[in-house]
């Protein structure tokens, strides 16, 4: 059967592609020590943080861009990027969210993230990051009552220096990799949260990242610490306007789980993908890693990656505490000319540590979608267990799917299982469902839900509804 009808391309109805016209204050393009000092000064940082930044910058200058990922793009000119951009008006932490520039409030409302009191989504505290700054964090009072700290990282550096000094860089060191070093030098904003011992965080915590300014990189830095016996559910969302130029988002996210603590981290990533010819879009080069420091601790990453021109992202877990467990649940959708190289690393150090990897890749159009994973069992990880399942679904005949699973086991008592499959969302499947009376949209929805079901069930309810809709909409457009 000919596949021409399948490959009719995505309409550009990325509904988050608008720009906000707002007066900004930006650093000149380019990267040098002066720019780093500028950023640090803008954020009123203490001397020790500036010193850390400069050390990372020196490290970065010695490093070269990684080329091992299965993605292709023209060389990035790091001197042609703006490293700091912030709205001029009203970015004052002491002011109420209601007093923010109405343009900003309107922007977040259009994104479905109302920040003002009367319109807020119940049960969630939100930190909203616009370009290089956090513009506000909701529900802080409610969290303070139970001792939970949730604020921007910039604020945390000033208010909670001891916590930041202790944990910042403890999971992703400044010399970890090219983009992590760059981030450690120029990071601008992101969220900080600390859940005290024994506290079950009463609200879901959420950060929403928005890139607006042209030619500006966003260098998110997020640090999440769950103290002994605590629990937190964290959600992250991302969007950017449609621009012909590529934008860089190089984030570092660190999670720390102490004894008996549990962190559930979910992302719906919907950065602008570029147009149907592959022009523009966000380069999403991200280092996300969690460390199960304490015994019986748990970290899970659930991600729905549906945006970005290029994704390079491996949310990982270091299983240091005995009996700790890590999980990675992922749906990655690529269409048109998108490229994704994503997966995870599970490093087993403690005894009886357990990890689960469930990856679902959907590739449509001319896109390329790779799963890359590492399961490493250290000699000390007696009784470690891993289960990995990677499934790929191809839509049309020009899309590519690859898997690069790596397993290194240095302990004979480890149990490692790996399953993989590749299937094709075919016109035959669509026709079969349609011939039973299901409309095309419903048929696609059923097929995709069936394929991603095992991952979606790990998302918080409101996120899973959004994720399902997002994937359906994008696929519908890709199938034509």
């Amino acid at each position: 059967m000919s596949d021409t009808p399948i490959s009719s391309q995505l309409n550009n109805d990325y509904k988050f592609g608008f720009t906000t016209e707002i007066e900004t204050e930006a650093a000149p393009k380019g990267l040098n020590e002066g720019i780093i000092q500028f950023i640090s000064k803008k954020k009123n940082e203490p001397e020790w943080m500036l010193a850390r930044r400069l050390k990372a910058f020196q490290q970065w200058q010695k490093m070269t861009e990684p080329t091992w990922a299965n993605v292709h793009y023209p060389k990035i000119n790091f001197q042609d990027i703006c490293y700091f951009s912030a709205p001029k008006k009203n970015i004052n932490k002491d002011k109420k969210l209601e007093d923010l520039d109405p343009e900003l409030l309107k922007t977040f409302e259009r994104l479905g993230i109302p920040l003002t009191e009367q319109k807020r989504i119940s049960g969630v505290a939100i930190d909203a990051v616009f370009d290089s700054v956090s513009i506000g964090t909701t529900n802080q009072e409610a969290l303070e009552k139970v001792g939970v700290i949730f604020c921007s990282i910039s604020e945390a550096i000033q208010k909670y220096p001891e916590l930041v000094k202790k944990y910042f860089g403890s999971v992703v060191p400044y010399a970890d990799n090219f983009y992590a070093s760059l981030n450690a030098a120029v990071f601008t904003d992101g969220s900080f949260c600390y859940i005290p011992e024994g506290v079950r965080c009463p609200l879901d915590l959420s950060t929403y990242f928005r890139i607006n300014a042209k030619d500006t990189g966003q260098f998110e830095r997020t640090l999440l610490i769950a103290d002994k016996g605590s629990y937190v559910n964290y959600l992250e969302g991302c969007t950017a306007p449609m621009r012909d130029e590529n934008q860089l988002h190089a984030a570092v996210v660190e999670l720390v789980a102490l004894e008996n603590a549990e962190i559930r981290y979910s992302t719906v990533q919907n950065w602008y993908t570029g147009d149907k010819e592959g022009r523009g879009g966000v380069y999403n080069f991200v280092t996300k890693r969690g460390k199960c420091v304490g015994k019986n601790s748990k970290i899970s990453w659930t991600q729905v990656e549906s945006g970005s021109a290029i994704t390079w992202k491996y949310p990982s877990v270091i299983l240091q505490g005995d009996n700790s467990s890590g999980a990675f649940y992922s749906v990655a959708l690529t269409h048109d000319y998108m490229q994704a190289d994503t997966g995870t690393k599970m490093i087993h150090i403690g005894k009886n540590t357990k990890s689960t990897i469930l990856s679902k890749g959907i590739s449509a159009g001319h896109s390329s979608n790779s799963y890359r994973g590492l399961v490493k069992v250290m000699p000390s990880a007696e009784g470690a267990r891993n289960y990995t399942q990677c499934d790929s679904m191809l839509v049309g005949s020009r899309a590519k799917a690859s898997t690069f699973p790596h397993v290194e086991s240095k302990n004979k008592s480890a149990t490692i299982e790996h399953e993989a499959s590749t299937s094709r969302l075919s016109e035959d499947q669509l026709f079969y469902l349609q011939s039973r009376g299901l409309g095309k949209e419903q048929a696609i929805s059923l097929l995709v839900n069936g394929f991603c079901k095992d991952v979606f069930k790990h998302l918080p309810l409101e996120f899973s509804v959004e994720a399902v809709k997002l994937i359906e909409m994008k696929l519908e457009n890709s199938i034509g």
């Binding site: 299937s423 026709f431 011939s435 409309g439 069936g450 079901k453």
Partner: protein, 249 residues
Amino acid sequence: MLKISDLHVRVDGKDVLKGLNFNVKAGEVHAIMGPNGSGKSTLSKVIAGYPGYEIISGSIQYEINGNYQNLSELEPDIRAKEGIFLAFQYPVEVPGVSNLIFLRSAFNAICKHHGIAEMSEDKFTKFVQEKAKLVEMSDEFFERSVNEGFSGGEKKRNEILQMAVLSPRLALLDETDSGLDIDALKIVASGVNKMRAPDRAVVLVTHYQRLLNFIVPDYVHVLAGGRIVRSGGRELAIELEQKGYNAYL
């Protein structure tokens, strides 16, 4: 109910149906027989609306609410909603979607189209359990993904179950007997026989007359070279069994 006149259909650049005429009235059971490659499957799929099958000339008229309508103007799901059902020769696997959810989604979509209230989940499950008895399928099938890991016989029985649940006016059975052992064939045939009704027509597409021992057709047609070259009653099938298709090649 169905009027096909002078139908020419092209598949992958090749003319497969070349001036086919075929009429079906409510209550009738037709068998379409013919050698391999004669266009039998193409005929059933083009009625159901398979994408990529190009109608060059001629028409397929189907009666909806007393008026004949050109089927090529309707999407496959609308045809299904208007009572056309194709039991596939090779039923498709739908991983991760349970049979019950699949059936319910389809059933509700059809109800909605006709402005009929949907059945509650409980009531629907009981309804399906009742229908499943027709093809001797147990409840454990309901939670399994559609056709995934099903044996050939199970897939075919599942097609008949879907037909029983969706209750079409025009049922097209494409080589439903292929790959079935005699016990499975009897189950499938009895399922189809129980669905014979004055307001329902059945078109059986088959290479072998074996199926027709169990589902006795009112009319038998020979499809060869993209046209119906001979029509008759039950006895024609028996003649074909004895003499083969050589005369029509």
